[in-house]
């Protein structure tokens, strides 16, 4: 068994920045010795910084593994119109797409940026 990630996400057009309300499209990839029971792809935001962490899941899709130990399936996740990715002095809000293998709860997550110019807003430069 290797240490290489067995779960991965490939975003369409290699995009990692989006506008609010857009759809995040990509492919979920998994590679195991034995087929996982279920694979989920979740779109969520979380906060980092001085305050306790807050987290919100915006969208989740279940990938049809079809009993395959390895696979590659498309997904589409809907971004809401807010919150936007931002960085301030106390709070940083980050959007992420996470692929989770169940019931092992093994996961890989990939940060994306969500903002009006498909970029994170820097409050310190306002």
């Amino acid at each position: 068994m290797t240490d290489a990630p067995r779960l991965a996400i490939r975003f369409d057009d290699d995009r990692t920045s989006y506008s609010p309300g857009e759809t995040v499209r990509g492919r979920a990839l998994w590679l195991y010795d034995k087929a996982p029971e279920r694979i989920e792809v979740r779109l969520f935001w979380y906060t980092q910084g001085k305050g306790d962490r807050d987290l919100g899941i915006a969208d989740t899709v279940e990938i049809d593994c079809a009993g395959a130990a390895a696979g590659d399936q498309p997904f589409a996740l809907q971004l809401p119109d807010r919150p936007w990715s931002f960085q301030g002095k106390l709070i940083t809000l980050t959007w992420s797409v996470e692929i989770v293998s169940l019931p092992k709860d093994e996961a890989e997550d990939f940060d994306i940026e969500v903002g009006p110019d498909a970029a994170r807003v820097d409050l310190l430069r306002l």
């Binding site: 991965a8 506008s19 979380y46 305050g51 989770v100 890989e108 009006p116």
Partner: protein
């Protein structure tokens, strides 16, 4: 950037000081209420001497406050009450719609400054009365020796500070209060939006005679709450401030409805409110009054994302 975890981040939970605060309130309330009960029992047992009146005041008062703290502590431990914020499941990234606020007779939405001063007084007045009664009672019990004087100096000093604070807050209540009106039909439920200019109507309720000048400013601020020991602490950082209007001439307009344009800067973010983190936009009405509590009214305004991005509209 990819990260691997034993556990998915999205199934994580936010921390909270529920246990610490609940336990603290439980212990504190037991001690405080126990003291009150002891005073009550003492009042029952002792003869009708001259100073028993103090026991009859302190006993029920402390028992009530302590009992309340015990109930609050138990509820906090059981998760029925969450200190310093809402439960995560109730967290929302969207601001409260303007429609939720009280409307004016014209159908516009009226927003007012918070009532923190009145709320603080509701708690502070009974607490100050209780504290100072206890100090008088205890000082009488301890007598006029060095220990008694030290007690009066420390606890009496704190009691005096509380009386002064109550007096200050009562004076502040006589200050005029800011109020704004927003056209609900014209701006939808978000009211204000990033990059958009909104016209509001503002006024000051109450006498403005004491005010030498007035400043109206728009502020954007981060608010982050966290647990430190048994306390729930909130740090605030203002990331944007723009003075919209200022000067003594504004006072002539203060009593009547006056229009003002408010522009949320294009590089900003919409309001955001979750359990422990917030982005707040507010209109600040400020006036420094010599020898009197200053006016520092803050009216929180809900800021939405505004129009969809052009790139999105093309899809």
């Amino acid at each position: 950037m990819a990260r691997t975890h034993g556990k998915p981040i999205s199934s994580g939970n936010s921390k909270g000081g529920r246990g610490c605060l609940g336990l603290f309130m439980l212990v504190w309330g037991t001690g405080f209420g126990g003291g009150g009960l002891m005073a009550l029992i003492g009042g029952f047992e002792s003869s009708s001497s001259g100073d028993d009146w103090a026991r009859w005041i302190i006993g029920p008062l402390f028992t009530l406050i302590g009992g309340g703290a015990v109930v609050f502590g138990l509820l906090t431990l059981l998760g029925k009450v969450q200190p310093g914020g809402i439960k995560k499941s109730q967290a929302t990234a969207a601001p409260r719609p303007l429609a939720a606020d009280a409307g004016s007779p014209t159908g516009d939405v009226v927003l007012r400054a918070g009532k923190q001063k009145s709320c603080a007084l509701l708690f502070l007045i009974p607490f100050t009365v209780g504290w100072n009664t206890m100090v008088v009672f205890m000082a009488d019990e301890l007598g006029g020796d060095a220990m008694g004087w030290l007690f009066v100096l420390v606890f009496g000093g704190a009691g005096l500070a509380m009386v002064l604070l109550v007096f200050y807050l009562l004076l502040a209540l006589t200050n005029p209060t800011a109020e704004i009106e927003v056209d609900a039909d014209g701006v939808g439920t978000d009211g204000f939006a990033v990059g958009r200019t909104t016209t509001i109507v503002w006024r000051m309720r109450g006498s403005t005679n004491r005010l030498p000048a007035l400043t109206i400013a728009l502020e954007g601020a981060e608010e982050a709450s966290y647990t430190r020991g048994t306390d729930r602490v909130t740090d605030r950082e203002t990331f944007y401030r723009a003075v919209l209007a200022e000067g003594p001439e504004l006072l002539a307009d203060a009593a009547r409805d006056t229009e003002l344009e408010v522009t949320i800067p294009a590089g900003g973010v919409p309001s955001f409110e979750a359990g422990s983190n917030k982005i707040v936009w507010r209109l600040c009405f400020e006036a420094d009054i010599p020898w009197w509590p200053d006016v520092k009214d803050q009216i929180v305004i809900p800021v939405g994302p505004g129009a969809p991005h052009p790139r999105e509209e093309l899809r």
